[in-house]
C-alpha cells in the first residue's frame, strides 16, 4: 500500500494530463488573458479620453478662472466672456422640463404595458417602444422644429416657437422610450406572488399596482428615470434645432415663465455650434473643452447616483 500515494500524486500533475485536458487548460488561460486585456483596454481608452479632454480644458481655469467660468453670467466669446451659468441653467431647465413631462407619462405607459394591456398586444407595444428608442435624435429635432415649435408659438402667442419649452418637450419624447422600456422591465420583474398576496387580501388591481408593484420596482424605475435624464442632458442635435440658441439667464424668480417660453442655449448645443469657428488653442477653444469636462462630470455623477440606487435596491431585495 506504500506505493499508492506516489501514483496518486502523479495523477494530478500537469504533464501527465491527456492532450485533450492540456488543450482545455491552455484555452482557459488564453480566454482569461483575452477578457482581462479587453477590460483593461476599455478602461485605458476611457482614461485617455478624459486626459485629452482635461488637457485642453484646464488652460481655461488659468485664463478665465474657475469661478468666473462656472458662475459667470454671460457667455460672449467675442467679448472674451466665458461664463457658462446661462448654459448650465439652460441645460438644467431643458433637462428637468423634459423629465417633468417624461417621467409620469413614461411610468404610466410602463404600468399599462406590464400590468394592464392584453398579453397579445403587450409584445407589439414593447417592440414599438424599442423601435422608438432607436430613432436618431435629428429626427426628433426635425419633428420638434416642424410641428412642436409652430404649435408652441401659436398657443403662447410668442415671437418664436424655438424655446426652452419646445426643447424640453422634444427631449421628453426622446427619453420616454428609455424610461418606458427600463421601468417596464423592472415592473415585470416584480414577483407575481407579491400581487397575489395583495389581491388575496381584497385589494383592487389599482391598489395592488399603486401600493405593492410600483414600490417593489422602485429602484428599477428610478434607474430608468436617471438613464432617461442621461439621454436628455447629453442630447445635442435635437436641442440645437429647437431651442433657439440664445444664452440668456432667467430674470429672477418672476422671470422664470418668460425664460421657459424664450430661446435658451444648452452646454451641448454651445459646443456643437461654436467648435467650427474657434481657433485651436484660443481661450474660446479651451472653454469649449471645459464645458465638455463639466458635462462629463455631471453625467458621471448621474450614473454614479443611478448605480448607488440600483445597488441599494438590490441589497434591499435579498
Amino acid at each position: 500500500m506504500a506505493s499508492t500515494p506516489t501514483t496518486n500524486t502523479q495523477g494530478i500533475v500537469f504533464k501527465n494530463l491527456s492532450r485533450y485536458e492540456k488543450r482545455s487548460r491552455v484555452k482557459d488561460i488564453v480566454a482569461s488573458i483575452v477578457v482581462h486585456t479587453s477590460g483593461i483596454a476599455a478602461i485605458v481608452v476611457l482614461f485617455f479620453i478624459f486626459v485629452f479632454l482635461a488637457k485642453d480644458a484646464l488652460p481655461t481655469f488659468t485664463k478665465v478662472g474657475i469661478l468666473k467660468f462656472l458662475i459667470g453670467t454671460s457667455w460672449q466669446p467675442e467679448f472674451e466672456k466665458f461664463g457658462i451659468l446661462p448654459l448650465l441653467v439652460g441645460s438644467l431647465f431643458v433637462t428637468f422640463g423634459a423629465l417633468v413631462v417624461a417621467v409620469p407619462i413614461g411610468i404610466a405607459c410602463a404600468v399599462y404595458i406590464a400590468e394592464v394591456s392584453p398579453p397579445s398586444f403587450r409584445s407589439l407595444l414593447k417592440v414599438i417602444v424599442e423601435l422608438l428608442a432607436g430613432i436618431p435624435s435629428v429626427v426628433f429635432g426635425f419633428i420638434g422644429l416642424m410641428i412642436l415649435a409652430p404649435l408652441v408659438q401659436k398657443v403662447f402667442e410668442l415671437p418664436t416657437g424655438l424655446t426652452a419649452l419646445t426643447g424640453a418637450v422634444t427631449l421628453a419624447f426622446m427619453s420616454m422610450p428609455t424610461i418606458i422600456s427600463v421601468s417596464e422591465d423592472a415592473i415585470t420583474a416584480v414577483p407575481k406572488s407579491y400581487s397575489d398576496g395583495s389581491l388575496a387580501l381584497g385589494a383592487t388591481k389599482w391598489e395592488t399596482i399603486r401600493h405593492v408593484v410600483i414600490p417593489s420596482a422602485k429602484s428599477g424605475i428610478v434607474a430608468a428615470c436617471l438613464l432617461g435624464m442621461g439621454r436628455a442632458i447629453g442630447e445635442t442635435m435635437a436641442v440645437l434645432m429647437v431651442t433657439g440658441n440664445a444664452s440668456i439667464l432667467p430674470k429672477g424668480l418672476v422671470g422664470l415663465p418668460n425664460f421657459f417660453l424664450g430661446p435658451v442655449r444648452t452646454m451641448t448645443a454651445t459646443i456643437a455650434s461654436d467648435m467650427g469657428e474657434t481657433v485651436q488653442g484660443s481661450t474660446h477653444y479651451n472653454a469649449l473643452f471645459a464645458i465638455g469636462l463639466t458635462l462629463f462630470a455631471i453625467s458621471f455623477a448621474v450614473n454614479m447616483a443611478a448605480d448607488l440606487i440600483l445597488r441599494r435596491g438590490g441589497l434591499g431585495k435579498e
Binding site: S193, D196, S198, L201, P215, K317
Partner: protein, 276 residues
C-alpha cells in the same frame, strides 16, 4: 405530541365579529355544489361537491396537478383574474353563492384569507405588511392600526419574536417567520375562512411544527382549508380530509376515517403511499 401554543391574551380579545348566519343553516360554512373549473378548454375541476364545516380544519390531499390549488382559488375567486378561467356550479358562503353577479369579489377576499406555498411578504417592514390589508379597507387611525398589527402578530404567534423591531424589513425574517407573518397579514383583515396552499412545504421541520400548532389554535375561530402533501400533517391537524385526483373529489370524510378506513381503493393507495 403538541406543545402548548404560545398565544397569550389574544383569545380573549379575538377580533372576530362572528357571522351568525350559519346558525340558520344546517350545512357547513362553505358549501361547494357541482363546481367545475375550466382554464380555456382544459377542465381542472370536475363537478366537485363538498361541505366545509365551520371552525374546523379541512385538509386537501392528492398528487400534484390534481387541482387542489385551483379549488382553493375558486373559493376566494382568485381565479377570476386568470384570463380564460371559467367556473360552473355554486360556492355558497353562509348560504350566498359567491359567483352571484351582486357579490363583490374584493369584499369576498376580505372574508376569505389566503396563505401561499412560498412565504410572500411584501418588501416592506413587518408593520407595513400587517397594516397593509386594514389600510386598504379604510383603517387610517395610527393607534388603531398599531393595535391591529400587534393583535394579528400575537395571534400568529410571531409577536414575541419581532416586538423589539416591527419596523425592520420583513424579508430579513427566516422562512418560517415570514410564513407566520403572512398568516398575521391575512388575519389582520379579520377573515372568517383561511385558505392555506401547502403553507409548510418550503419550511424546515421546526418551523413546520410551529405552523401546525398555530393552525390548531386558529381553528377555534376560523374555518381552515389546508392543502398538504404530508399525510402525517394532514392526519395530525385536520378534522376532515378530501382526496382529489385529476380534478375530481374522490373521497371526503373525517380524517380518522380517511386515513384508517378509506372507502375508495384509490384513496387507500394514495394515503398508504402505493399510488402511481
Amino acid at each position: 405530541m403538541l406543545v402548548s401554543v404560545p398565544v397569550s391574551i389574544s383569545e380573549a380579545q379575538s377580533p372576530q365579529p362572528r357571522w351568525n348566519a350559519a346558525s340558520e343553516c344546517v350545512c357547513g360554512k362553505v358549501e361547494v355544489e357541482d363546481l367545475s373549473l375550466f382554464y380555456g378548454t382544459f377542465q381542472a375541476l370536475r363537478n366537485v361537491s363538498i361541505s366545509i364545516p365551520e371552525c374546523a380544519v379541512l385538509a386537501l390531499i392528492g398528487p400534484s396537478g390534481c387541482g387542489k390549488s385551483s379549488f382553493l382559488r375558486c373559493i376566494n375567486r382568485l381565479n377570476d383574474l386568470i384570463p380564460g378561467a371559467r367556473t360552473t356550479g355554486r360556492v355558497l358562503l353562509d348560504g350566498k353563492n359567491v359567483y352571484d353577479p351582486d357579490v363583490d369579489a374584493f369584499l369576498l377576499r376580505k372574508r376569505v384569507g389566503m396563505v401561499f406555498q412560498q412565504p410572500n411578504p411584501f418588501p416592506k417592514s413587518i408593520f407595513e405588511n400587517v397594516a397593509y390589508g386594514p389600510r386598504i379597507h379604510g383603517v387610517k387611525n395610527k393607534s388603531e392600526l398599531a393595535d391591529i398589527v400587534e393583535r394579528s402578530l400575537r395571534r400568529a404567534a410571531l409577536w414575541d419574536e419581532v416586538k423589539d423591531d416591527v419596523y425592520k424589513p420583513a424579508l430579513a425574517l427566516s422562512g418560517g417567520q415570514q410564513q407566520r407573518l403572512c398568516i398575521a397579514r391575512a388575519l389582520a383583515v379579520e377573515p372568517e375562512i383561511l385558505l392555506m396552499d401547502e403553507p409548510c412545504s418550503a419550511l424546515d421541520p421546526i418551523s413546520t411544527g410551529r405552523i401546525e400548532e398555530l393552525i390548531c389554535s386558529l381553528k377555534e375561530d376560523y374555518t381552515i382549508v389546508i392543502v398538504t402533501h404530508n399525510m402525517q400533517q394532514a392526519s395530525r391537524i385536520s378534522d376532515y380530509t378530501g382526496f382529489f385526483l385529476m380534478g375530481e373529489l374522490i373521497e371526503f370524510g373525517e380524517s380518522a376515517q380517511i386515513f384508517t378506513r378509506p372507502k375508495d381503493k384509490r384513496t387507500e393507495d394514495y394515503v398508504t403511499g402505493r399510488f402511481g
